[in-house]
Assembly symmetry: C2
Homo-oligomer: 356 residues x 2
Amino acid sequence: MNLENAFANFTRRDWERESVDGTVRLAIVGVGGFARQRALPGIADGEYCETTVLVTGSPERTTTAAEEFDVSHVLDYEAFLEGDHADAYDAVYVATPNAFHGQYAVAAAEHGKHVICEKPLETTLERARAVVDACEDAGVTLMTAYRLQTEPSVRRTRELVHSDVVGEVVQVHGSFSNPLLEYADADTWRLDADLAGGGAMVDLGVYPLNTTRFILGCDSEGVYATTHSSDGAFADVDEHVAFQLEFPTGATASCTASLDAHAASRLQLVGTDGRISIASPFGGVVPHEMVVESGDMRMEYTGPPVDEVREEFDYFGYCVLTGTEPEPDGIDGLTDLRVIEATYESARTSRQIDLA
Amino acid sequence: MNLENAFANFTRRDWERESVDGTVRLAIVGVGGFARQRALPGIADGEYCETTVLVTGSPERTTTAAEEFDVSHVLDYEAFLEGDHADAYDAVYVATPNAFHGQYAVAAAEHGKHVICEKPLETTLERARAVVDACEDAGVTLMTAYRLQTEPSVRRTRELVHSDVVGEVVQVHGSFSNPLLEYADADTWRLDADLAGGGAMVDLGVYPLNTTRFILGCDSEGVYATTHSSDGAFADVDEHVAFQLEFPTGATASCTASLDAHAASRLQLVGTDGRISIASPFGGVVPHEMVVESGDMRMEYTGPPVDEVREEFDYFGYCVLTGTEPEPDGIDGLTDLRVIEATYESARTSRQIDLA
């Protein structure tokens, strides 16, 4: 690859290979902060999806959002499970607390609807497998909502790595931290082990985990981790996690996540012949500041960010409309849950857990 | 601490607390590339040391360096061990391959000379302990040559951390890689396990290890590591290492080192209320590019680098002349060797090794 060209048309959608007609009509199940502030606007701004149904525990408090985004139906969860207005949507975006993902995703599949499900797919590998099985049985598309896989800086990084710009990747460092309690109450479901399935690892660690696997194009074969939690709000889950992944290539990934630290994220890959660093890859709006070193060459890219949520939903819509299997499919989600469970096992036993 | 003032007088020598007369006359034992290219010029440029003796296996090939730096005596190792011209020097800088450190450091102590010894102190904890004991018995100063502890960017970082600018440090990432075979032959002593005591961990990993311990001001209580080596030149030692340290505060440090990857280094500390990042801290010339975030504030410092080798020898000279115990003392060197040995044990057993 010519390094100068690597950054040309930085935000190109390399996944968009044919022209497509129509849109996928979406039911959003679970209308929390992310759905309101990011998903609804992102979908409205995109090409291949539109939101036609909102499913929420409090329909009366969702009228403003419904009006603003011209949504035709607002249902409660029971009505959704019973299939009310199922002809008004083609696919379901599951954005509830993690422990409810399975219930609604399986119901969606049983209604014959495609599914885009927030990460992690569920709170345990076993529960997540039920989602994958249901979608497979119903013959519907299942995408795990790893928005980073449609983020241009991550896709360009993957291309650079696969084009041998940094040689063989030797060591990855990924970090993601966020002061959860600055924008959520202490009783947030994210700090409830049953509802969330875990803490920092589940909510934030999965970003460097999944993104590293995506860029390297292979699965980790071992993981070691330690977790730390203070008393109080974080007593039930991992407040901080540090984990180290082993890949079959010999590469390692040294990752950290914290629900109770300064907001920051970073991804760096060092290879035998170069280095790629992305500033703030995981925080939701990627500033598109990348440094690439290849041999003696050094290049910096700075460009305007894209709305990665719009990109994510357009990718999902495109996959549904064209019958393309999404890269972040159900298996991708299961793979990460297997690593997450192994992470906690490692933290309990102080041993590396074999994933091969 | 007022954040604006943190960078004022960035390169100040906060360790220089009294005015000092005279200089420490140094014998350099082992005149390799680092001694010629960095130590001799750094010492000459500094205030508190001067090189009066060179000790080398090939005195006839050292005449140019001796003339250039106005050195009065060039000895072979045997003459040094026998104490020839011992009245011409006050202290000894041991810069031989690691496995010979002990022999010359102990001889220096027995001659009543102060010692500054390259890192690691020796190839094993046991052999290093003999150095510490000999210096203690002789009542001479022993400094382990951790030049990063006199590097202004590291000292400023320590001050910022101890002034609570980032809150409690939660997660550290440190990395250091260097393509050894681009400037050394495959038969270099650094790839000989007996002479070096190890590979990437010993030669490079010790930088993020020691620097993190220095900044946090405490010792790690557990370590996990994996090592990887290809056949050929790296068959005898760890070509790559990834290790994760646990500190009693709950902080973790995720570190990597490689003798066979693109030249790069970085140190990042994320705390409960901020972040500090040093670009390229370990490569020998630190560019003095730091980013500090504290709450909502973000500051970048960019300034001209200093010669950290000059700083290191001036610090040693100052300590000897004022009777100050150096911070990177023998115990500091022993502590790292204990971690290094635990790192290799962890890599063999895939378990966390307890250091508490």
